[in-house]
């Protein structure tokens, strides 16, 4: 598994959105900005649950062991209105996930971006709905 985890130069890659927004919860409460993750996995299911959807993926390490990870996505109602449906990320899809691991070290992460095999990236949202909650961003008043 260690080999599957690649560290990004996280702070330098961040792109803060200018839209003032407030999501359901704070990024920093759940996820560790010092634990960026980036690995390939195969979608096993997508949980369309409130307040946020979760994508389950199987991540295969070099030694052949498989670990299940949960990747947090946006609010399901919002995804639905924006055009996602149950077929958007079918089981079996191979994706490259970038995000940040849960603070408690469990196999959960927020999803910043998904990259498909052809190199196209799909924004999935993350827990930093409020720019003030994103690591490195100025705190909102």
């Amino acid at each position: 598994m260690k080999k599957a985890l690649l560290t990004l130069g996280a702070a330098g890659l961040m792109l803060m959105a200018a839209v003032p927004a407030r999501a359901h919860h704070a990024f920093a409460a759940e996820f560790d900005s010092d634990k960026p993750i980036k690995f390939k996995g195969t979608v096993t299911k997508m949980e369309w649950i409130n307040p946020h959807a979760w994508i389950h993926i199987d991540v295969k390490a070099d030694d052949g062991t498989v670990t299940n990870w949960m990747i947090e996505a946006a609010a399901p109602n919002s995804l639905l209105r924006r055009g996602w449906n149950k077929s958007s990320l079918p089981a079996g899809t191979e994706i490259l996930v970038e995000g940040y691991q849960a603070k408690d070290g469990s196999n959960r992460a927020n999803g910043s971006v998904i990259t498909f095999a052809d190199g196209k990236k799909l924004f999935v949202g993350n827990a930093a709905g409020d720019p003030g909650a994103a690591p490195g961003a100025p705190k909102q008043p």
């Binding site: 927004a21 359901h24 409460a29 603070k103 498909f116």
Partner: protein, 339 residues
């Protein structure tokens, strides 16, 4: 495998094209439109209304606008162009691999306004469009942990706001435009109006029969509402709120209000698809004076409230608490190593 990936992308693209509506003006109301009535004679304001068009509008007016409450026609035209550009960007489900992405909210997190908000602020009175000052006693009131706090206290689930706990956003927090889930479904019956929000899914049952408020000993998250009609306007006065947990900000954020809070809302349907909404906030133990917030709500083709069971899937609460414990453990281990 490649087949699956290609299929997934195709489905996603097709679905998005259907779901995303380009910005457009509201259809003009039919000539000689009159407020329809229910079979029992009340003004009929039923439907699912959304405050989406004022998503992102500031609560407090930026100082450079002074007392000017509305954008000029030119400013509105510019803002419409920005919405159109945003829509074009939204239609691209994927971006090139060269594009950088990060932890900020990406476009598909939020829902979109269909037309620009005409107001320079959601607060419309006082004339400067800004919430009045807090009283000293209110400034001292602790604000529950919620979104936007980079270092939340997480000793217990009780440290978090009612919103984070999937309990309530309060009345104003439930209707103010936020990044998603702005639907308000209004259903009327003889003697009652019910308003149900999509996000957190609370139903306010508002009696219209003039009966007095409940005893002040009885307090609830959403207060005790009483409604009456003034012409075609539904006026709802709500008191008996639980104090100290929700504020007047988006999603119930900000300084919590007191048990003295009284809200007076006015719902006026001004065309088939547009509602004028106003709420006067009077909390003499929190603010130096009452103030008024206003914004339009609209009905949109196909728009409906979706399910919002929140508590069962609120993994964020588990992760926040376990994250705080992990942080403490790491700090203790570091302290022990330094001894």
């Amino acid at each position: 495998m490649r087949f699956f990936i290609a299929t997934g992308l195709l489905v996603l693209t097709a679905a998005s094209a259907l779901a995303q509506v380009a910005p457009h003006a509201l259809p003009p109301p039919p000539k000689n439109w009159v407020q329809p009535k229910t079979p029992w004679g009340d003004p009929d304001i039923q439907g699912t209304w959304t405050s989406d068009d004022c998503i992102g509008a500031p609560m407090n007016r930026p100082a450079n606008f002074g007392d000017r409450g509305f954008y000029t026609e030119q400013e509105l035209s510019d803002r419409m162009k920005r919405l159109e550009q945003q829509h074009e960007g939204d239609l691209k489900d994927t971006v090139d691999s060269s594009q950088r992405v990060g932890t900020g909210p990406p476009g598909n997190w939020g829902e979109r306004a269909r037309r620009p908000c005409k107001q320079t602020s959601l607060v419309v009175d006082p004339p400067n469009g800004r919430m009045p000052d807090l009283l000293p006693e209110a400034k001292a009131r602790p604000i529950p942990e919620g979104a936007g706090n980079n270092n939340p206290k997480a000793d217990s689930w009780e440290d978090f706001s009612w919103y984070i706990r999937c309990i309530s956003r309060g009345v104003t927090g439930s209707i103010l435009p936020v990044i998603y889930g702005n639907g308000q479904q209004i259903i009327q019956g003889p003697g009652y109006v019910t308003i149900m929000q999509e996000m957190v899914h609370e139903a306010r049952v508002i009696p219209l029969n003039g009966r007095p408020h409940a005893s002040s000993e009885i307090r609830t998250y959403m207060g005790d509402p009483r409604g009456h009609w003034e012409g075609n306007t539904l006026v709802v006065e709500t008191t008996n709120f639980l104090a100290g947990r929700t504020g007047i900000g988006l999603n119930g954020g900000g300084t919590p209000t007191s048990e003295a809070l009284k809200l007076t809302e006015r719902y006026t349907r001004i065309s088939p698809d547009e509602m004028k909404y106003e709420v006067t906030v009077d909390d003499p133990k929190t603010f130096t004076r009452p103030f008024k917030i206003a914004f339009p709500m609209t009905q949109e083709p196909g728009y409906q409230n979706f399910e919002y069971a929140c508590h069962e899937g609120n993994y964020a609460m588990f992760d926040s608490l376990s994250g705080a414990r992990a942080k403490e453990k790491a700090a203790a281990a570091k302290a022990a190593a330094n001894k």
